[in-house]
Symmetry: C2
Subunit: 333 residues, 2 copies
């Protein structure tokens, strides 16, 4: 294993130190437990939007803390859920009488620990709601998961609910919005190589020189099948078909297309894949009205991409377009 790290056990804490000093205008990093919190938290009268999970998926979640998106992110160790007390500390740092929404990716550890934190917070008379995102169409159950996994849709969910909270929506409204987004977002991922977790020291799985894992999870969990490497046109068509047929998305639907790098894919390939996906969606009569292209939910240095489609309406489009200012997403302010 060759990595730009010191002690593998200190990777997350040391990386958060870099995040803190690079973005002191937007966020604060706290230790014991590790938290990334909006610099101006708690924001009076506002619903707090809080998310978190294992590290190694950066910029998710700490890179999305700031006005118009998350109030706090709770980073666990690499690919490992944060503890309930860490989630509770994030709520204590950000939530007031307006309450808080917890955005939880559907992994057994995350669901359990965020639920426990919500119960502890409720016992202290804080109004906390949780939503679980499970947008990955690849497999029903998987390593670490009962039901579908939460993947790329999480980024869109955090942006849109963050925008609603920022404009002053009530907790009821923000929660309902989150459930609506979860209901109409779907994703699929592929891997060309495996990530190496620092404290493990070797690749998470073996993949042959000419194999692609179709339906990969963001921790390198197995997908639907191993397929032989194929041209981008065929691979992206396979991905588009998996996502479109699931909801399903239909001709005339307006969508946001999110083409995500898993970390190690060159931007040259990422935009190439994005262009193919747009063409295939146009052929199906699906109208791509908004796009996001880049490495926003990663699996360390894994080579691969994911495609996420969100069905848009005027409300979701408006919330997507609303100003946001975070380390990783920024526009309008």
């Amino acid at each position: 294993m060759k990595k730009i790290i010191n002690d593998p056990a200190a990777v997350v804490a040391e990386s958060l130190r870099g995040l803190a000093v690079a973005h002191a205008d937007l966020l604060r990093v706290r230790d014991d437990p590790a938290l990334v919190v909006r610099a101006d938290a708690p924001v009076a009268g506002k619903v707090a939007v809080v998310s978190g999970g294992g590290s190694g998926h950066e910029p998710l979640h700490g890179g999305f803390v700031g006005p118009g998106m998350l109030d706090a992110a709770v980073p666990g160790p690499v690919f490992t859920s944060p503890t309930p007390d860490a989630v509770q500390a994030a709520l204590a740092a950000t939530a007031g009488p307006a309450g808080a929404l917890l955005i939880v990716k559907n992994y057994t550890g995350d669901v359990l620990n965020f639920e426990t934190a919500a119960e502890l917070a409720a016992a202290e008379d804080l109004d906390v709601r949780s939503v679980v995102i499970d947008d990955d169409v690849a497999v029903k159950d998987s390593t670490f998961t009962a039901g579908r996994r939460g993947v790329g849709g999480t980024v869109l969910l955090e942006k849109i609910t963050g925008a609603a909270a920022e404009r002053g929506d009530s907790l009821d409204a923000v929660e309902a919005l989150a459930r609506k987004v979860i209901g109409q977002v779907r994703s699929i991922g592929v891997a060309l190589s495996a990530p190496t977790v620092p404290h493990v020291g070797e690749p998470s799985f073996d993949l042959g020189e000419n194999e692609i894992e179709f339906g990969i999870g963001i921790h390198g969990e197995p997908g639907r099948e191993r397929i032989p490497a194929e041209p981008a046109d065929a691979l992206v068509a396979r991905m588009v078909e998996a996502v479109v047929s699931d909801l399903p998305f239909s001709s005339g639907d307006k969508v946001l297309l999110f083409t995500n790098s898993m970390g190690g894919t060159p931007q040259l390939e990422l935009y190439l894949a994005h262009g193919i996906a747009e063409r295939l969606l146009a052929e199906r009569g699906i109208l791509v009205e908004r796009r996001l292209v880049g490495p926003y939910i990663t699996s360390l240095e894994m080579q691969g991409i994911s495609l996420t489609l969100l069905k848009l309406d005027d409300e979701l489009t408006q919330l997507w377009d609303a100003p946001v200012r975070t380390p990783a997403l920024r526009w309008g302010i």
Copy 2:
């Protein structure tokens, strides 16, 4: 070689198609020769800022086209200079009576082809000036280069000159500013792995399991030395020393610190390295007043990072902060 591509010969054209459809609000892509041009070009009365070079370093340069930065980018084949007629076409598409500045990275092919284009444009009474950036402190001469290579400083140079042109500075002023930036920016890079050029099909160089190339170029050209893998603290200290001692930067200097991923480095490691660099600079009394952290000048999927330091004054800080709206850098608008 496993990549998300179709025909290796069509990679750049197909990727540009994806860029065009993803960012139609900002730019247009033209074919034969391939160009990325501001959607609203030519902008009346404004100095055009044009850059380009081999592809494979994305988002450089096409991802920096838009208000406040480049008027056009000229993408060559992967790691190969664009032709003089492509550069000339970019000038024709963007430059008017206010003239144009060509930003050229110091590689023999780029220098020659951009120079030829400038001469052709001058023959048509267009006022074109060229600046050559050579910020890499690693080696004096290298593969493809007489003198120092142009690397990370290019991103800062394009942002700052783009801001000056946008506010209406004359060509004389924009050129003088560019020379000032080039005079006070320095960089160093390291590689942990080699990139694979699509039309070559195998890694550009061999690097042992425990080796790091110190002073790597952005095409994987050799650096100063091969060193054994070492902890991030030691590696970043070696990089900071190389950059700081070169200009040199001194206690009390105000700087912009740009911590760049070469493409395949996880963000977790990138911010970790950034945090170390900030600490080491603080220990030397060097004042980091602005930062940029991310994959902005890459070498396909190469794992590695570079550090760039730019000495700031009020003028440069103001131009750095000025609004910019491009696919890869965006703030203020």
